[in-house]
């Protein structure tokens, strides 16, 4: 478990990072917290020619409220207490890996990694958040639902760096819920769902059993059942496809119940 040889570039500013990524193109990977990237490197599942380390870029470490959202910079760790200002993040973050991985892992890194079984991408999609990406041509905003394309695949262009993600803060009459089933604490979820309820409005997103975090149009009377009818899970060593479909129903119903309770209190 040693990585294949690679070069290493440490960026001090966002411009330096973007320049390096532009120069190296497809051959470059961004190193932020490294909690997914480094194991993948060690197992030689990925073999970038160069790593662009953004950990020293001070201007990417902010968490700010802006226009009803929480804007989270690229190097903000998952353990950062400022994130707890967002109720859904506060709910989901304890499920993200373990304390030690959250101390290093970043919010934006998890989003950019686009693992369909990761909690943070699911939350971003549910909230209708955005990803701010900077390339040589400038900064653009990508909506979460456009950002995630498939397993570990995003709408980022070569040379683009995720500089920030924005997480809309729900209004007082809105409730959110999150539920997942995993084998162990800190595991990737076998199945997970998030829900957002406001009056008659209901939004549901599922993860793990889909190729990217996915918003489903559910029947408000039978949310779990109608969600389960819309997904085609593939079985794993731990869970048959039938079990996973059943879990969709369970986690969606639980997340919806939580969201509705919170919306009404």
């Amino acid at each position: 478990m040693k990585p294949a040889p690679f070069r290493y570039v440490r960026a001090e500013t966002t411009d330096e990072a973007v320049d390096a990524l532009t120069r190296e193109g497809d051959d470059a990977k961004v190193l932020a917290g490294g909690q997914s990237l480094v194991p993948a490197l060690n197992m030689r599942l990925v073999r970038p020619g160069v790593l662009v380390d953004v950990n020293r870029v001070g201007e990417l470490s902010g968490v700010a409220r802006e226009n009803g959202s929480l804007a989270v910079g690229a190097t903000v760790r998952q353990a950062d207490a400022r994130l707890l200002a967002h109720p859904l993040l506060a709910e989901a973050l304890p499920h993200v890996g373990h304390v030690v991985t959250r101390n290093r892992g970043t919010v934006c890194g998890s989003v950019a990694h686009a693992d369909p079984a990761a909690e943070l991408p699911l939350c971003l999609v549910l909230l209708g958040g955005t990803v701010r990406a900077r390339g040589r041509g400038g900064t653009r905003e990508i909506s979460a639902s456009d950002f995630f394309v498939s397993h570990f695949t995003t709408a980022l262009e070569p040379g683009e760096l995720v500089v920030e993600t924005t997480w809309p803060l729900a209004q007082d009459d809105t409730g959110t819920g999150f539920c997942e089933v995993a084998q162990r604490r800190g595991d990737y979820a076998l199945c997970m769902a998030g829900a957002l309820a406001r009056g008659e409005e209901l939004r549901v997103a599922v993860g793990s059993v889909v190729d990217r975090p996915t918003l489903l149009d559910v029947d408000p009377e039978r949310p779990g059942e109608s969600a389960a009818a819309q997904v085609e899970p593939w079985g794993t060593v731990h869970a048959s496809a039938a079990y996973l479909r059943h879990l969709v129903r369970v986690v969606v119903d639980r997340a919806v119940a939580q969201a509705r309770t919170r919306a009404s209190t």
């Binding site: 197992m43 162990r184 800190g186 076998l190 060593v237 731990h238 039938a242």
Partner: protein, 649 residues
């Protein structure tokens, strides 16, 4: 780097038809040993029984997951034609001899050095010896020292794992619950080949086939099969989890058939306190115990009747709550002769009963006390206990005693059984320390007497022995050092098909209360009580650590861990992402009770207790899950996905 070099190697394989499932292997030509044993008259007893219960269980394969994997440094010395190897091995054990023979070296030319603490193991580091041989050969060929550090992927895929076992049990009972006959038909999956010391997993428990019960008619058929999977080897519990899942699940199934409380059925059959020492049908000598007392304690701690009533009420309300128990005899200090049972009596060669351990205590000219062990500790606290024992005997403080636990086959006091396995430290490891300390104390007393100064200080006594041997009692050696070897007095080579497979036998009663989430299949352990009788406790804190560690491993096998291969023999649980080793918050917190029935055979009265709940927890949790679900066809591990499939069936 080796991994870059590896990428340049291209191997073409010609695929052969793989055999991955143990029952498929038993049907084909992959069965390498098939032995049947009979004690008493099982056929007649089954025919006469009022009720015959038949039950099949399957124990999956699982691993040990130490934090650090294997490591070996090997240095071939061309001039002396000798090999020195440093490894986090837990021997020397018989495997030093196996490794030396594999290298074609006389034993003295294989110098094996292990560190003071070989790190975590749970048994798996016994298999490092194969890599000692490989690295030794590499060093000899290359003419340079060779280092090899195993990584996690290699460890999970290729180091070692527990055996898998399918067991069909037939048990005959009278209507009032007396167990009169017990028959096992076991198929044991040892993986790709029979690696030393296998098929020991099958035979380690042979003397305890009847568990804690008085049944005299016992039979077993043992088949050993090969599959295209990782070879098996030592794994904490070693044969106990597999045996007791079969026996203790069968007891619960029988309790259901007989309409008896499972605790009451066990009580009616347990070996009684006045039966000790008790010889089992298959040859074990159970040294001491109060099995019914342990059962009483466990039932009281757990609130057995109340818990069962609550579970019944909860189930009536739609929840899936269950209560289960297991009563297991925990053998410790293995008799190396038991493995010869794998061969028919006539083919066994010279008799074997090895189990001894050695210890050296030296006193320096200034009175400093140094103890040398060859028990290769892995965190169990051998040094702490050795210091306690020597301090007690010599009248000094434990912190005045230096204990060295690095072992070196060229300098340490060892025998063919030396090492860290079968919970042998508190019996023969600490036993050798006690014997050495006793002899040293006697010598020091003789010197004091000879000096005419009964209060002479340790320093004065040591100084006399070193500086002025002439003043010692006549015939006494100069210097002040003792090496002692200690072997349990109650272990003999097998007698036909009967074997005293272990020197000491503790007893464990566990009670588990679980709830199954009907929606997700997740099993939560609501309460876990474990009561132990391991004879005298040498250090209560260390004993508690052993109980907790043993339970962690047993609960892991019951609820989380399983090695899975696909039909082509590809490992599907090849990293910690899919091999679900639990972490601390995933595990039940036990409530622990102790009794102390000292072993009459061992010098300190202490028995091993490192493996108890590893043996009992899979059975206790399986019984609780079966109770919760109201069905008998349950086999671990009870992962959410597997339990949900049961709920749907």
């Amino acid at each position: 780097m080796a991994e870059d070099a590896l990428e340049l190697v291209d191997v073409e394989y010609e695929p052969l038809e793989p055999v991955v499932d143990l029952l498929a292997a038993a049907e084909g030509d992959a069965c390498v040993s098939d032995r049947s044993f009979a004690y008493g008259d099982v056929d007649a007893a089954l025919a006469a029984a009022d009720v015959v219960v038949r039950h099949r269980v399957r124990f999956h394969r699982w691993s040990c997951t130490p934090v650090e994997c294997y490591g070996v440094v090997a240095q071939w010395n061309e001039a002396e034609e000798s090999l020195t190897a440093w490894a986090n091995f837990q021997g020397p054990f018989t495997l030093h001899s196996v490794a030396a023979a594999a290298l074609g070296l006389p034993g003295a030319r294989l110098r094996l050095v292990t560190p003071p603490d070989s790190g975590g193991s749970f048994g798996i580091k016994s298999a490092v010896f194969a890599y000692v041989v490989l690295m030794g050969l590499a060093s000899r060929k290359l003419g340079v020292p060779v280092r090899w550090i195993e990584d996690r992927l290699e460890h999970l895929a290729g180091s070692s794992a527990a055996t898998g076992r399918s067991t069909q049990v037939e048990a005959g009972f009278t209507t009032d619950g007396e167990l009169v006959a017990l028959r096992y038909d076991a198929v044991e999956d040892v993986g790709a080949y029979v690696r030393a010391p296998e098929p020991a997993t099958l035979y380690r428990m042979h003397g305890s086939l009847s568990g804690g019960y008085r049944v005299r008619n016992v039979a077993a058929r043992n088949r050993v099969v090969l599959t295209n999977t990782v070879p098996s080897g030592l794994n904490r519990g070693f044969g106990g989890p597999q045996l007791y899942l079969a026996l203790e699940r069968t007891m619960d199934v029988a309790a259901g058939r007989l309409e008896l409380d499972p605790a009451e059925l066990r009580r009616r059959n347990l070996v009684r306190a006045d039966d000790f020492p008790y010889e089992t049908p298959s040859g074990a000598l159970y040294d001491s115990g109060d099995y019914e007392g342990c059962l009483d304690d466990a039932l009281a701690h757990a609130g057995w009747d109340a818990r069962r009533a609550e579970a019944t009420a909860a189930r009536a309300g739609g929840r899936l709550v269950g209560v289960g128990m297991a009563c297991v005899v925990e053998p410790s200090i293995s008799n190396m002769g038991y493995i010869t049972l794998a061969e028919p009596s006539a083919e066994r060669g010279l008799p074997k009963s090895g189990n001894a351990e050695g210890c050296t205590i030296t006193v320096s000219p200034l009175g400093g006390i140094t103890v040398t062990l060859t028990t290769t500790p892995q965190g169990q606290g051998h040094r702490t206990v050795a210091a306690q024992i020597v301090a007690d005997r010599l009248g000094v403080e434990p912190q005045d005693v230096t204990v060295l636990s690095e072992s070196d086959t060229s300098t340490s006091p060892w025998t063919v059984s030396s090492g860290n396995y079968s919970s042998r430290f508190s019996g023969v490891g600490a036993g050798a320390v006690a014997v050495a300390a006793e002899r040293l104390a006697e010598r020091m007393a003789a010197i004091r007497e000879h000096l005419g100064d009964p209060d002479a200080s340790l320093r004065r006594v040591a100084g006399t022995a070193h500086w002025n041997p002439e003043s010692l009692p006549p015939g006494m050696d100069a210097g002040l050092a003792v090496t002692a070897y200690y072997a349990a007095p109650n272990l003999l080579p097998p007698d036909g098909d009967r074997v005293a497979s272990s020197a000491a036998h503790g007893f464990v009663v566990d009670v588990a209360v679980v709830e199954v989430d009907r929606d997700t299949g997740r099993v939560s352990v609501l309460d876990y009580v474990t009561v132990h009788d391991a004879g005298r406790l040498l250090n209560p804190l260390l004993a508690e650590g052993q109980v907790r560690g043993g339970l962690a491993h047993g609960a892991a096998a019951a609820l989380f861990e399983r090695l899975v291969w696909d039909d082509d023999g590809n490992l599907l649980t090849a990293s910690f992402m899919d091999y679900s080793c639990p972490t601390a918050p995933d595990l039940p917190t036990p409530r622990i009770g102790h009794r102390e029935s000292p072993s009459p055979f061992l010098p300190l009265g202490a028995k091993g207790l490192g493996e108890g709940p590893t043996m009992s927890a899979p059975a206790a949790i399986a019984n609780a899950v079966a109770d919760a679900l109201g069905r008998d066809d349950v086999d671990p591990p009870f992962t959410p996905g597997r339990v949900w499939e049961l709920l749907e069936r």
